[in-house]
Amino acid sequence: MTVETIQEFEPNIIGFLCNWCSYAGADLAGTSRMQYPPNVKIIRVMCSGRINPMFVVNALQQGADGVLIGGCHPGDCHYQHGNYFTRRRITILKNLLEFLGIEPERVRMTWVSAAEGRKFAEVVEEITEDIRKIGPMKQIRRVNEW
């Protein structure tokens, strides 16, 4: 890969954000007119506990270069403790991806509360830059559609 193609590469990131904190945080970032990279495509879920590790694997198969998972801060979950379960699942998923030789940095998790618009913008900036450095997802990208 030449240097130019790396510069041209625009990462495609899927963000699974929980309805009560992270999504509201993203909303706040938008309404406060903060600048952040447009690479994250957001999917709203009711709770970060809804996120099945297979969502992440499927996203990586179908064209995402990275996945961002956003939940409420520990203890703040709208459903008491959904985010704690996700934390365990994603820890294990990242360990497995690392073992298989797929960059575990592609999967990122963050706690963003509804008041943290600034933090959300920073997180998106950081993950976009990280994945720009790693390059496009090659290992498990789906080649043809059927």
Partner: protein
């Protein structure tokens, strides 16, 4: 070495109990020294039961495999127990199923066998391509004596045992109703040697290693069918809506399937290495399972298949679980 008479006696005693439907054990297979799972419905049928170093199958799958037909108007559900001949790892699989409320303890009668390790048929086959002709395989203290073409061969145990058996930490069944022989004192410690070899590779080498393996996968799902803990009524991979993993056999879907299988066994796999034994393409699935077992041991200090009362790993949490990777 398991006492043959003691085993048959125990099976007879179990199968003649009124509340036992049948007992699952091992009998002599069709060729040479091969062994096959066997069912005894009466005490006469129990005579055929044997236990040799080739009794590799994990019989813990059988209680969950049983087909439950719809009942007629006056019919009552058959709630009789099922007897199982279990080695250490098989018993741990039963404990894990009980822990997940897949079975009740009173649904099964366990005839426990302290196991000194079983022979990997793949290793035997690579030494003796027509190993079906081997007449007998016997266990001596630290070697196997094999009768082959009227000759006696002595092979050190480590060369034929399953990798999982060499460092098996739990040779004794954690739960049983009848124990054949005496418990073995084991000082083995799992070393995760093969996992560490893969872990020491660079990221590119790791993917090259797994790409080579996953490319070969034919997605026969034998690993799932042989696994005692894959007992979902409908597997996620069989679902058509949503279709989690597509049916085409290519690297992307094969990897997704193998990730899914490993994740669904995280914190549940008891390391019996049945998946690897039945894999027709020789994919080292145990390495994936052992890797997660090792990490879960390090991070959460959790060992599956030890206690019936423990809570499932992914169904519980601690507020102070590690979260270094979280931004």
């Amino acid at each position: 070495m398991v006492n043959q008479e003691q085993l048959v006696d125990a099976v007879k005693k179990t199968v003649s109990r009124e509340d036992v439907k049948y007992v699952v054990g091992y009998e002599k297979g069709t060729y040479g020294c091969e062994v096959t799972p066997s069912f005894a419905h009466s005490s006469e049928e129990a005579e055929k039961f044997i236990f040799t170093p080739l009794c590799v199958h994990n019989l813990a799958i059988y209680p969950k495999l049983e087909e439950k037909l719809p009942l007629g108007r006056d019919e009552k559900e058959d709630t009789r127990k099922i007897g199982l001949v279990v080695k250490g790892c098989d018993s741990r699989a039963v404990v894990q199923i009980i822990q997940e409320k897949g079975l009740k303890r009173e649904d099964v009668v366990l005839i426990g066998i302290p196991c000194t390790g079983v022979v990997n048929p793949k290793k035997l086959k690579s030494r003796y391509p027509n190993y079906a002709e081997i007449v007998e395989i016997e266990e001596k203290d630290s070697s196997f004596s094999i009768k082959f073409n009227e000759e006696n061969h002595t092979i050190p145990k480590e060369e034929l045992l399953f990798d999982a058996c060499i460092n098996c930490e739990y040779p004794n069944p954690p739960i049983y109703d009848i124990l054949i022989g005496e418990e073995i004192k084991s000082t083995n410690k799992e070393t995760y040697e093969k996992v560490k070899v893969v872990e020491s590779k660079s990221q590119k080498e790791k993917w090259a290693y797994w790409e080579e393996h996953f490319q070969r996968c034919i997605r026969c799902y034998a690993c799932r069918d042989a696994c005692p803990l894959c007992y979902c009524k409908e597997c996620m991979v069989d679902q058509l809506d949503p279709r989690w993993v597509r049916r085409s056999v290519n690297l992307s879907e094969n990897t997704a399937w193998n990730i899914m299988r490993a994740l669904h066994l995280a914190g549940r796999c008891v390391g019996c290495s049945e998946c690897e034994r039945v894999c027709p393409m020789d994919i080292p699935l145990t390495e994936l399972n052992k890797k997660l077992e090792k990490n879960i041991m390090e991070i959460y200090d959790y060992i599956p298949g030890i206690s019936e009362e423990a809570k499932p790993l992914l169904g519980t949490f601690k507020p102070d679980d590690p979260e270094e990777f979280i931004l």
